[in-house]
Amino acid sequence: MKKTAFKLVLASAVALAVCSAAFAAEKLKVGFVYVGPVGDFGYSYQHDQGRLAMQKALGDKVETTFIENVPETDSDRSIEQLARSGHKLIFTTSFGYMEPTLRVAKKFPGVKFEHATGYKRSENVATYTAKFHEGRYVIGQIAGKMTKTNTLGYVASFPIPEVVAGINAFILGAQSVNPAVKVKIIWANTWFDPGKEADAAKALLAQGADIITQHTDSAAPLQETEKAGKLGFGQASDQARFAPKAQMTSIVDDWSSYYIERTKAVLNGTWKSKDTFGGMDVDMVHLAPYANIPDDVKKMAEETAAAIKAKKLHPFKCPVLGQDGKPVECKDGKALTDKQITSMNWYVKGIDDTVPK
């Protein structure tokens, strides 16, 4: 008796699922895999904002799902879960998903995969990342102008090329308006740990830095900066709400235009695997509204951003001097190549530290 009732419940539940699946057969299912919680208000949050923007823009044509808090070394299953449940386009948003994405992609040739911040592609795996360093150059200029102690503080996460390139672009921007400027870097060894990030900011402030910038995800460094009455920059999302008096601007990762473009490509059948390294020109990076800075600095920042956007100014325009003072190899004579930027593991002149190995 109980068994029959159970089977009935099971059958009706399955029927319900099948019916709803049939109903949804028209829509394109797009899946997202996040390494952190959507509520981090930083990196994963911004990817989710991109997802929401894409859902809004494409309305009835798509249905989006996400799985959050997926550890990189245990991600094959989650990615495959999405592939198996009818998702035809899957975005895996962290570097550590690279090999798992490729493995699952091999098993599901009909599904398209997009891997963020990686470098390996296949026929159905594309890669994409943003030229965050362009934003860094602009805020570097602002920092150079606004600092009174000529000491800038940097709360960094891990010494990977993206972060190192960011530091270099930042200091180059600062040096372009203030050659005497110095930067102090702390490696927090985490992408997200508010307490530790706050402590790092405190240490930098105690050591004389009066402008704090970060490549970690929480709003903690900015809050500390505001507490100390100093100024700083937010990361990944607009964190002004956390520190309205301290945030001058924030580098915002804006994935929405990319997500819309790629989803449309799948809908149209024109999707192809490629590598996208988008910057301010395609609005993958933009800066949050400026605040707490005088008008002339604001104007300078806007002009620099516009120049970068129009490709008239390159943050790594040659000659770029290495820590030893010698110019770094510059093939086309104009600027460092994308490849050089995405594998950067050296500091430019003016930074006294060494890159941690």
Partner: protein, 362 residues
């Protein structure tokens, strides 16, 4: 109001098996309540969490893959916990095992001499190194406890952080893939350095068989061997054990070595089975989840097998629930906690009659 516990005169088999099942049912009801409060359908959630993963070959395989490290570590922990030694550092031992075994895979990667003398010995050597790495790392808190009386809870826990940082430093430094654009990861292991797959789909790896064997051997050791008897006696009646002449110092070292070896083996199985390379983090907390598995399985290797599968089911079901129902990942964690609490209460119920008495708590 207070709760009085009266020991039951005998343990019946029906209660032994029935209690955890009832506990599971109660936990599911609690979980269903929370889900209903979140505004979702509990019936649908039940189906997605527990039924669907058991109906597909793919998810059944994933179940076993996820349970594999949990079984290996938990069986090892059962040796320590039965002897009242609280090894909380299995996570660190897991990492050390994966690190040592993975190191071998890295230094033998792509070498030309493999064509000459063959690479067949690499994988077995990796597994052995994994076990050795974990065992040695576990001996640190064991020796500190035996020599200095230092709490093994504290030392083994602190060493977890040290192991994590050590792995992080090595993978970002000396063990980094030279052709990897400076990204923090080692080379991808050669096929010869990977655990063979048991089925199509390239997910079910031989580590699963290893876990099964370890569980069976563990059960045998506890039930039939002198050593197993020693371990159980030291835990249940330490005075009697000492009168019987069992040396608790040697025993401490032995159980820690076993626990560490199994955790290290789990580490290298995960690295050579699922991951295929060394990365800054190789464990999503298996060392701690295995502690739960050990208790859910009532410290018995066969119970651990079952408990590991049940817990793996909650993980896989939880991911499916995120996809199908948009249930947050926190729900899975909360449910696992509730499940453990229910099973623990049920365990007490098998050994004691529970009576509620009204009056002062004394």
């Amino acid at each position: 109001m207070r709760i009085d516990l009266e020991p039951r005169p005998e343990r019946t088999l029906a209660l032994d098996i029935g209690a955890p099942v009832i506990a599971l049912a109660v936990a599911i009801i609690f979980g269903g309540l929370v889900i209903w409060m979140l505004g979702k359908s509990p019936a649908l959630a039940f189906e997605v969490y527990f039924i669907t993963p058991l109906t597909e070959s793919w998810s059944l395989q994933e179940l076993m893959v996820k349970a594999c490290p949990l079984v290996l570590i938990a069986v090892g922990l059962s040796f320590c916990y039965r002897a009242n030694l609280w090894n909380i550092g299995a996570e660190g031992q897991f990492i050390m095992g994966g690190l040592l075994g993975g190191w071998l895979a890295i230094i033998t990667h792509d070498e030309a001499w493999q064509d000459l003398i063959g690479g067949w010995w690499i994988l077995p050597a990796m597994l052995v190194l994994g076990a050795i790495g974990g065992a040695l790392y576990a001996l640190i808190p064991a020796l500190l406890r035996v020599w200095l009386g230092a709490s093994e809870i504290l030392t083994s826990l602190m060493l977890v952080y040290v192991a994590e940082l050590g792995l992080d430093w090595l993978v970002r430094g000396p063990l980094k893939d030279p052709n990897g654009f400076n990204f923090p990861q080692s080379v991808v292991f050669d096929d010869i350095a990977r655990l063979p797959f048991l089925a199509e789909g390239e997910r079910l790896h031989a580590g699963v068989l290893l876990a099964l064997i370890v569980a069976l051997v563990g059960a045998f050791v506890f039930a039939r061997s002198i050593f197993g008897f020693e371990v159980r006696l030291i835990g249940e009646a330490p005075r009697a054990a000492r009168f019987a002449g069992f040396d608790d110092r040697k025993l401490t070292l032995a159980v820690f070595a076993i626990s560490g070896a199994l955790a290290g083996l789990a580490g290298i199985c995960e690295v050579a089975g699922q991951i295929g390379q060394l990365t800054p983090k190789i464990s999503p907390g298996y060392g701690f989840t295995a502690i739960i598995v050990a208790f859910l399985g009532r410290l018995s290797p066969i119970g651990i097998l079952v408990a590991a599968l049940v817990l793996a089911l909650t993980y896989i079901g939880g991911e499916a629930a995120q996809v199908e129902l948009s249930l947050p990942s926190d729900m899975t964690r909360a449910f696992q906690g509730i499940l453990l609490m229910c099973v623990l209460v049920a365990d007490t119920a098998t050994r004691y009659r529970i009576r509620l008495r009204f009056g002062a708590l004394a």
